[in-house]
């Protein structure tokens, strides 16, 4: 059965660390990095990349449009 795998790329410079993407993610992929960007905000990253399905939820709620989403089908 084909499985859907996804990945996100976060524009670290623009992320403001509002954490709305963490709330929106159904598979609990995203966390805030302990490091900060040049503006002093913690930024989002994929803590569990293997769980990402590329559902786009995080990118839809991101106020600063920093998330780019990729999705592909993998044959098992």
């Amino acid at each position: 059965m084909a499985k859907v795998k996804g990945a996100i790329v976060v524009d670290i410079k623009r992320c403001k660390g509002c954490e709305l993407c963490i709330e929106a993610c159904p598979t609990d992929v995203i966390r805030m990095d302990t490091k900060v960007n040049s503006k002093g905000y913690h930024y989002a990253y994929m803590e569990h990349p293997e769980l990402c399905t590329g559902c786009v939820n995080c990118a839809l709620v991101c106020p600063d449009s920093v998330i780019t989403v990729y999705r592909t089908k993998v044959e098992e």
């Binding site: 509002c18 590329g54 839809l60 991101c62 106020p63 780019t68 999705r71 592909t72």
Partner: protein, 259 residues
């Protein structure tokens, strides 16, 4: 499969629309303005009308909208966006004209412009962001502040007997004959973002058909003004704003929907 194998051009499903500039938004972290900007620009891009659209930026937090929206924009004095939009639309009837206003702009200083533009039935689209307070100036009470809601000028909550009742602009303009499509949406969850985008698309299509004024209210958060984290603010909005400002279409095809 490694992450770097997924991140390829052919697997791309979502990226920032080209109609938003690369400038970092001036809004607070978690502010609904960012999503509202993006879905308006996505609708314009998908309809292929970027060259023919003129936006009107208000006074308020979104005063710099012309910096972020990569289309023709005009910035106008406080509350006067519908009046300027009327002038632009009458000079260029084949252009798409929309205003993007907050609640202090549209419901307080610009009440008369809004109501008369709606009553005349100008073929424009009004995007109304309602967060219940004056966000930019420091969270003062606005006409849309809920009864009992705390703001910097109502630290014990809005007292209706002393300060009057909040105004529901969207229901108010729905009763005017010039309006054709009226809807109230939110942008705090993925589902609500999708619905809000559909509503904005319908608003621009109404304008294309020259049917009358289309008006989309977006109930938004103001986490800085409400003194909450973005997630708390969204939860507070669901619990307190939505019972008073119920989401959904209010007027479709010129007819008010009975609920």
């Amino acid at each position: 499969m490694e992450v770097k194998d997924i991140i390829k051009e052919e697997n791309l499903v979502f990226k920032k629309t080209g109609l938003l500039t690369d400038k970092i938004l001036s809004y607070c972290p978690g502010c609904g303005h960012g999503v509202a900007h993006r879905i308006v620009m996505e609708v314009i891009e998908e309809m292929g009308i970027a060259e023919d659209t003129i936006g009107i930026a208000p006074v308020g937090c979104s005063v710099l909208a012309y910096e972020f929206m990569n289309i023709d924009m005009q910035q106008v004095p406080h509350g006067r966006a519908p009046a300027t939009a009327t002038g632009i639309k009458r000079c260029w009837p084949d252009k798409f004209v929309f205003t993007y206003q907050g609640d202090g702009d549209l419901a307080a200083i610009g009440t008369s412009e809004t109501i008369h533009a709606c009553n005349r039935g100008e073929n424009i689209t009004i995007i109304f962001i309602n967060n219940g307070i004056y966000g930019m100036t420091g969270g003062q009470m606005a006409p849309t502040t809920l009864p009992g809601m705390k703001s910097s000028t109502t630290p014990y909550g809005r007292d209706v007997e002393l300060m009057g009742n909040p105004i529901k602009m969207t229901e108010l303009v729905a009763h005017l004959p010039g309006t054709y499509y009226i809807s109230r949406q939110a942008v705090h969850t993925p589902l609500s973002v999708r619905r809000a985008k559909k509503a904005i698309q319908k608003a621009f299509e109404t304008q294309k058909q020259n049917k009358g004024l289309s008006f989309v209210e977006i109930v938004s958060n103001c986490n800085s003004g409400w003194k909450m984290t973005p997630i708390q603010a969204n939860k507070w909005m669901e619990e307190n704003m939505f019972p008073f400002y119920p989401l959904g279409d209010i007027k479709v095809d010129g007819k008010i929907i009975d609920k």
